[in-house]
């Protein structure tokens, strides 16, 4: 305890030294250029006090949950924590399902929920590439953009496929004929196009690892954005694309009027319906990503991703095909990014290159790293914490990034492996009699 107090006192002292001039004395140029200054010792004292208290809290927390041994919690407490941990994921899911019911009247919260879930989905998608396959991808936003623009362009531009062959009906088909089904038809198309771009990115970086891979993927993200920005004829350049078709409840539009969804089910129309629908839509998409990841981890391809993250040389020695393993990770990760992009486009009704900057890639990557590189629950928690935290600190304006950075640093000190660093194994076997069923089930080459 004495040690903690001493450490806190030292931190407070450093803070005093640092902040004395920064906060304690405020200067400004007066009307005739003279120096005006006044003291703010009250704020200074508050700041130093906060550092002192914060330091104690940090130190205590570090001892509790820190990576270095520290205080052992009693067995009972630990068991309780373990149970809580196991219940956390189902509880979160139930809560998510109930959000539109509980917060039906709070449009702002519904919107925020949709935003959080979008990032949960992006986090889960990038998690396949970074968390499972260990490929540091700094350009994930590219696939988000490809998905969004694929949907926007295909759905909205008249784009009648040219009459290549006279009289062949299929070729005369126009996307506009999709009508209310545009989103549902084009969602998979957008995902597939993004996956294709994942493979296109994957090929040149097959031999790259670590920092080099990071730089090339970063450049790739920027290139996609710049192409979108400059290809004005197609993408509208900086003006973006507006009037993107909104989603329909499987063909039934969420509009007022007799053909709208509200009229169909016989309730008065409300714009909130669309929000609720979007909420469940992105929840379903995110859960699809999660389900696919969990399934893939149990298949040879998913195991190969994780093994490649652990040791690429060993994989080669075992005869794992590194090329297909890498390309499939890029492609599948990109596909979910593309789905999220199509969702983003249909939700906003308007997209422009501004939504697809490097900052988005960095944010999604931060979510994955913070979540624990591979943990599904961790990524979800990190997305909630980061996006929610961003909203929480909205009032802080320019300090928002500072707080964000500080929290990241602190979290990485306490939990260097991320919020949930634990990795659940996917192959279980204890006794020889169980082998044939559990070990071998899905191992048909």
């Amino acid at each position: 305890m004495a040690f903690i107090l001493k450490k806190a006192a030292i931190s407070a002292l450093v803070a005093l030294g640092l902040f004395f001039l920064m906060i304690g004395i405020r200067t400004e140029a007066g009307s005739s250029g003279q120096l005006i200054y006044w003291t703010r010792f009250g704020e200074l004292a508050a700041m130093v006090g906060a550092v002192f208290a914060g330091s104690i809290v940090i130190e205590l927390l570090r001892r509790w949950i820190g990576p270095v041994g520290g205080v052992e919690l009693p067995a009972g407490v630990r068991a309780t924590f373990a149970t809580l941990g196991r219940l956390l994921a189902p509880a979160l899911l139930i809560f998510a399902l109930l959000v539109p019911v509980i917060f039906y009247k709070e449009r702002y919260l519904l919107d925020l929920g949709i935003l959080v879930l979008t990032y949960v989905m992006l986090g889960w998608g990038l998690n396949i590439v970074v968390g499972l396959a260990g490929l540091l991808d700094l350009g994930y936003v590219a696939f988000y953009a490809v998905g969004a623009y694929s949907y926007a362009l295909l759905a909205q531009s008249p784009l009648p496929l040219p009459h290549l062959v006279d009289g062949f009906p299929f070729v005369a088909f126009s996307m506009e004929q999709l009508g209310p089904w545009a989103f549902w038809v084009l969602l998979p198309v957008s995902g597939l196009l993004a996956a294709l771009w994942g493979v296109i990115l994957g090929f040149p970086v097959l031999r790259l690892r670590g920092d080099y891979l990071a730089i090339v993927t970063l450049a790739f993200g920027e290139i996609i954005r710049l192409v979108i920005l400059n290809w004005q004829d197609l993408t509208g350049g900086p003006n973006g694309i507006s009037g993107i078709p909104r989603p329909t409840v499987f063909g039934i539009p969420l509009t007022p009027g007799e053909h709208g969804f509200a009229a169909m089910i016989g309730v008065p129309f409300s714009p909130t319906h669309r929000l609720v629908f979007l909420f469940y839509l992105i929840l379903a998409l995110a859960l699809l990503t999660n389900w696919a990841t969990i399934r893939l981890r149990r298949l040879p391809i998913g195991r190969a991703w994780e093994a490649m993250r652990e040791d690429e040389v060993a994989c080669r020695a075992l005869g794992i095909n590194i090329t297909t393993t890498k390309l499939s990770a890029f492609a599948i990760g990109a596909m979910f990014g593309g789905f999220a992009g199509a969702f983003f486009a249909t939700r906003q009704g308007f997209i422009s290159p501004e939504s697809f900057t490097f900052q988005e890639s960095a944010l999604v990557l931060a979510i994955v790293v913070l979540g624990g590189m591979g943990s599904q629950l961790g990524v979800a928690l990190a997305a909630i914490a980061m996006i929610g935290g961003f909203e929480l600190f909205r009032g802080l304006d320019q300090f928002r990034m500072l707080v964000f950075g500080g929290v990241m640093v602190l979290l990485m000190i306490w939990r260097p492996r991320g919020l949930i660093g634990h990795r659940a194994p996917t192959v279980f076997l204890q006794k020889r009699t169980e082998i044939s069923s559990s070990l071998v089930k899905e191992g048909h080459g």
Partner: protein
Amino acid sequence: MSAAATPLLAIRGLRAAYGKIEALKGVDLDIATGEIVALIGANGAGKSTLMMSIFGRPRARAGHILFGGRDITALPAHEVARLRIAQSPEGRRIFPRMSVAENLQMGADATPGSAAERAMSLERVLKLFPRLEERMAQRGGTLSGGEQQMLAIGRALMSRPRLLLLDEPSLGLAPLITRQIFAAIRALNREDGLTVLIVEQNANHALRLAHRGYVMVNGLITMSGGGMELLQRPEIRAAYLEGGRRA
């Protein structure tokens, strides 16, 4: 046993290099079906390079690698593995965050095989290394060095190989563990008829175990002969036994 008419593995005039550094300068080596062959040599002689070039990295610049009479020199690693050549690489290289069971499964994933065959290989591995069975759910990285080596060999065996390549399985292990591992290799050879190429710096154990041995110096085979016969030669005793690991 001597090299039969068509050896299982035949290496002919193999040359391989890392950039300008030539690591293999024309190597000839034969392994007959059912044989244990030891390849010994000092650190940096090119032993690991030879093993890895069978898996295509580094690629051969000249010469041929024939497996069962088929030229596999240009095959990519995953196709070499499908021919059921398995490898326990230098430094073991197990997957540290994956469980023992997952590590073993990884060995089985790359080659085709029925569920029953997989179950049989697993049973065989666990019979050879009963310690692994107790540690199935443990993470690979938390195993002791000896257990990691057992896991690396077990993982290679999961593909039911026709030829097993072992790179320095005794590296950094206590003598007792080394003996256990060598006993397991002998059992695999005697009971299952498995063909083994074992690379070692420490010639004593390896040559006692092997039917035949090759000595490699600076990317060239300088001597070959029966295991015990090589062990008797004074130049081998001087270079690879008493003095230990002199370069």
